[in-house]
Amino acid sequence: MAIIKRQKSEPIQSLYQKRITLLALIIFFISFVIIGRLFVLQIWDHSFYHDLAERRQEVLKNLLPLRGSIYTKEKDQLFPLVTNRDYYLVYAEPVKIKDAKKVIDAITPILGLKEEEWQPLLAKLSKGSDPYEPIKHKVAKPEMEKIQALKIEGIGILPESYRFYPEKGIGGQLFGFVGFKGDEKIGQYGLEGYFNQPLTGKSGEIKSIKDALGSLITIGPRSIKKAENGVDLVLTIDRTVQFIACQKLKFYYDYFRAESGTVIIMKPSGEILAMCNYPDYDAENYGEVGNIDYFNNPAIFAAYEPGSVFKMVTMAAGLDSGKVTPESTYIDTGEVKIDSFTIRNSDLKAHGQQTMIQVLENSLNTGVIFVEQLIGKETFQKYVKAFGFGQPTGITLDKEMPGDISPLDKPGRIYGMTSAFGQGITVTPLQLTAAFGAIANKGTLVKPYLVSEIIHPDGKKEEFGPQTVRQVVDPKTATLLTGMLTSVVERGYGKKAGVKGYYFAGKTGTAQVPAPGGGYGGKTIHTFVGFGPVSNPQFVMLVKLNNPSGPRFAEDTICPLFHDIAAYLLNYYQIPPDY
């Protein structure tokens, strides 16, 4: 029996052993497969599945910074000239819309859509496969709320930030605008263009996980890189002065049916109080501008042949180099012949013996040619450059032109002679203002500036003040020239610019505009630049009208504009009279 038992148990034990071994092998194999699969999923293809899961669960949002505002300061209070305002985008998801016609009927009266707008929209909304279609940008809050109240399936609303200008119609060319370049909003022209990067700030991002409904889960992992808002700019512009300057300019522009006009008002220390051009554009609706040229600021962009107003520079060079005094005389024969050219006075008259004071009073071309010939072209050119012509002033505005004084490099006496009375070379209105500012400022040229403060998002302030460029002429020269320019306003062509009770210094210029085919055509540019009161100059002002109709000379067109604005400023700044 015992032998039989031993014989029977051995195969059973062996079978069990085999089965266990087989089971172990199967378990081992399955485990191996599982581990292998896990290895592939978690390690080998980690990045793929990680990204897949991330896309399902994680949310990555760009945090947009708030664009900085542009302010002006009024008695230590900041008043925004350019800031941001939230509007709304109304959009459609045609895939969710069942009856497109009904939707159009409901939204058209609220959004004020015209037939040419809603008809193509109806076709787009009828396309069931279209996932997204914008309907109207820049929708105001009351309209947005009406649309929201309709609760139409497939119609959505998104907030959008736009630039807002509380003061309408003053300085579109000064501020510039924020427009789209592709999908990105970019500041273009003017201050917006020059300070685009600091005004924009830096984008941030938020990374978190979301629930099934797409809301962020508070307890989930979250990383936030905060957006850094743009800086704020504080301008030297006086809101009231800017408004009045623009209004008066528009009045004279309309009255003389001019092609365009410019006014610049600057403190002798370089602070720009007003910079206005007409025609201008509404920066809020920059897309409606018919002519793209209107985006450029003529005060810094439109270099032109200045004409007689440039005689101030020639006379300053003559006085400062000691070649002439205000009482120096010459004989005016009415014309100067050089090679095959004959240069005449604007009144075509010969005045006989004339002093340098009379040269400026009567705006004699022959007189400044006499001065230029005395000092020589090289010295004259040195003074022209020293006054800042031929190079940008460095004002913080986009697209400033340097002007062109290269004709003075050319050989030939004619170039120096014509430049002496402002022909053949080009300058910008701002360069002229700065040059007269140097005379008002005892011969020191200062850099014109528009931004007095930059306020960073953390409250840190960068302040900017007067910046001396160079001493152009001796203070004595500046004083003598101021006297001569005062005589221009008191007795010369600038009479109509003067204000009773005050002494002003200034010079008129009626420049011929070069014709496209060469030579000069019938168009003229009228300029007057002056400063006052001469005892203690408070402001320098340039006024300019391009091709005004009616009177031939600047004294009848532009001098009254200077007078009107100057009279207002004297009253506004409460400047007591000289006599």
């Binding site: 925004p80 509380p166 003061e167 119609g169 962020l216 307890i219 809101r239 007591p576």
Partner: protein
């Protein structure tokens, strides 16, 4: 028996009592299991409650944040409307409507030195 003698004898009795006090309570393995399961269940439930309340608070915070954003937006809109009303253009319009006139020439008083004698 004096008081001091009684006190001297006391420690002998106290030690026999403390022996009884610190004798271990016998807990069966079954009880231990029940206790462990209960402890885990309580900890789990309290964790769930905590997490749930945190998540709910998250939604409440979000709602409040939305409300704050809405009010800030309204405030900003009102400020911008006020700015438009303070603009030079708006003021000029009102001045014209009211028929106000610009101030005329200002007279300045000149202070001249005066000699006084007694």
């Amino acid at each position: 028996m004096s008081k001091f003698f009684r006190l001297a004898k006391k420690p002998a009795r106290e030690s026999s009592r403390s022996k009884k006090r610190f004798s271990f309570v016998k807990i069966s393995s079954q009880d231990l299991k029940v206790m462990l399961v209960t402890l885990i269940a309580v900890a789990g439930i309290s964790y769930l409650i905590q997490i749930n309340s945190l998540a709910t608070k998250g939604y409440q915070i979000k709602e409040l944040e939305n409300r704050v954003a809405e009010l800030s937006q309204e405030n900003s809109d009102l400020q911008l409307d006020a700015l438009s009303l303070q603009s030079m253009g708006a003021v000029k319009e009102k001045v014209d409507k009211l028929g106000l006139v610009a101030s005329g020439k200002a007279d300045y008083l000149q202070t001249t030195p005066v000699a006084l004698a007694r």
